[in-house]
């Protein structure tokens, strides 16, 4: 295994469970334990867990933290109450995206931020470079761990292990449920990256093994990065580096809903222009007619004309076909038949909503 890679506090557990380990964003991470399909199904039908300790966790504190976050992030931070989180973006000055993030308000002067592992250093440097308001930015990634517990049985499983089970049934998406779970103090927001219910549990690094073991004991299936990617594409969720980037418009990626229409923020002008004028391409879903795997960079054709390119592609166990995201000519409506060029052959597909599971019964 490549040297110089970091390990999460749960690395030994992954190895003991027989996971295939791959380098990802500077960490040695489990890509699968036994089967990506079995792991994906566990999350859709019951409950699975992911070690997401590689994602970076920051605190922002100070009297001017709110104003700083209002300037640096695209969503309306002022709408957050204590114990509430929101999905958001760090925009750049050019109408592109530095990262997609989640911001939680803990108290009026203290916020948590969770950012992508691959952008950890970039984001911290970006925030520090713009921090002219004396906001204290603390990086707690190394001394904490994070486990995402996801699936239709996730909340019931967590409630049964928790000291305050009633909170899990009365809460809403992005509520923070601070709780002791299996005797471990957790910061537990109701968020995730699978389209299913669940929580992301943040605990002290030294408690992570105990928490993981208790979840395993409770029947939660360990799931790797492979299943995580399948589930997020099925759920229509973007991944930085694929659907979002420094030089891609979040409006083209369909994230206008997380961008404030009222406040001023860094980079708001080019984003506003993109919203008003529209973007030449738009992120859509592709549903393959068969089981072929659409690969990143594959060209999309409508009536022989090249109209776009695949940004992410997986085989969907839920739909039993290949699915993808693609940036395609914004004038093309949904339900248009298309072809995707894979290994020199054009394979039939349809341009569909990227929320692939929305119509699921």
């Amino acid at each position: 295994m490549s040297s110089g890679c970091l390990r999460t506090p749960l690395f030994d557990r992954h190895v003991a469970l027989g996971a295939r380990i791959v380098p990802f964003a500077g960490y040695e991470m489990p890509v699968q334990y036994d089967s990506v399909i079995a792991e994906s199904k566990a999350v859709r039908e019951a409950v699975g867990m992911f070690d997401v300790s590689h994602m970076a966790r920051l605190w922002l504190r100070g009297e001017r933290a709110l104003g700083f976050l209002e300037w640096m992030t695209a969503n309306d931070v002022s709408k957050l109450a204590d114990g509430k989180g929101q999905y958001s973006l760090l925009p750049n000055e050019r109408g592109g995206t530095v990262d997609d993030i989640i911001v939680y308000r803990i108290s009026p002067n203290a916020f948590r931020m969770v950012v992508n592992a691959a952008n950890h250093t970039k984001d911290v440097e970006w925030l520090q470079a713009h921090n002219d308001r004396g906001v204290e930015i603390e990086d707690e990634t190394d001394r904490t761990a994070m486990i995402a517990v996801q699936g239709p049985k996730a909340l019931a499983t967590l409630a049964a292990l928790s000291d305050q089970p009633e909170r899990f049934s009365t809460s809403a998406l992005f509520d923070v449920l601070d709780a002791r779970i299996a005797g471990v103090d957790c910061f537990a927001p109701r968020s995730g990256y699978t389209g299913e219910e669940g929580c992301e549990l943040v605990c002290a690094a030294e408690d992570a093994g105990r928490l993981w073991d208790a979840l395993l004991q409770a029947g939660v299936k360990p799931c790797g990065l492979g299943a995580r990617d399948v589930l997020r594409v099925e759920a229509g969720l973007p991944l930085y580096g694929h659907e979002l980037a420094d030089d891609l418009s979040p409006i083209a990626a369909g994230l206008g809903w997380v961008i404030s229409k009222t406040k001023e923020f860094l980079g708001c002008e080019p984003i506003r222009r993109a919203r008003e004028e529209g973007t030449p391409t738009k992120l859509q879903g592709l549903r393959m007619a068969g089981r072929r795997l659409p690969t990143v960079g594959a060209k999309v054709f409508v009536q022989g004309r090249e109209v776009g390119e695949v940004s992410s592609g997986v085989f969907s166990p839920t739909l039993d076909c290949g699915i993808a995201f693609a940036f395609v000519d914004a004038s093309i409506p949904l339900d248009t038949p298309c072809e995707v060029e894979l290994r020199g052959k054009r394979e039939p597909a349809t341009i569909v909503s990227k929320r692939f599971l929305r119509k699921r019964g």
């Binding site: 089967s35 990506v36 399909i37 795997l293 690969t295 085989f315 894979l342």
Partner: protein
């Protein structure tokens, strides 16, 4: 890892069983584990003539596409029709039900590895 001693192997992780001038070809246990759940296998048409090391098909898993290379030169005489319906047989039984093509061998194959030599390739 299962590397049957009676088979021959390639560096690109195909296995070969030679039976009376016909080579049965599939991918190894190591390869199926690396790929993960196989969801689609594209195989050549019967009758196609392959050169040694020529790409003859693809194996697709949930996240990866991998090319298949002919371990021997010759004519494709049969493909495993089961894999169209049940590609997961490649994972479940890579040396049995998961076989891919039969090739009528032309000439002498070069560069096939025995089990020990192939095990060394997997160690790297």
């Amino acid at each position: 890892m299962n590397i049957p001693s009676e088979l021959k192997y390639t560096k690109s992780h195909e296995w070969v069983r030679l039976e009376d001038g016909v080579a049965v070809v599939g991918i190894t246990d190591y390869a199926q584990k690396e790929l993960g759940d196989v969801v689609y296998v594209e195989l050549p048409e019967v009758g196609r003539t392959l050169a040694e090391d020529e790409a003859f098909g693809t194996v697709e898993s949930v996240k990866t596409v991998s090319e298949l290379y002919a371990p021997v030169a010759g004519k494709v005489v049969e493909v495993n029709a089961l894999l169209a319906e049940k590609p997961e047989a490649v994972n479940a039984d890579p040396y049995g039900e998961g076989w891919m093509v039969k090739i009528e061998v032309e000439g002498e194959p070069t560069g096939l590895l025995d089990a020990d030599a192939y095990a060394a390739v997997c160690e790297d």
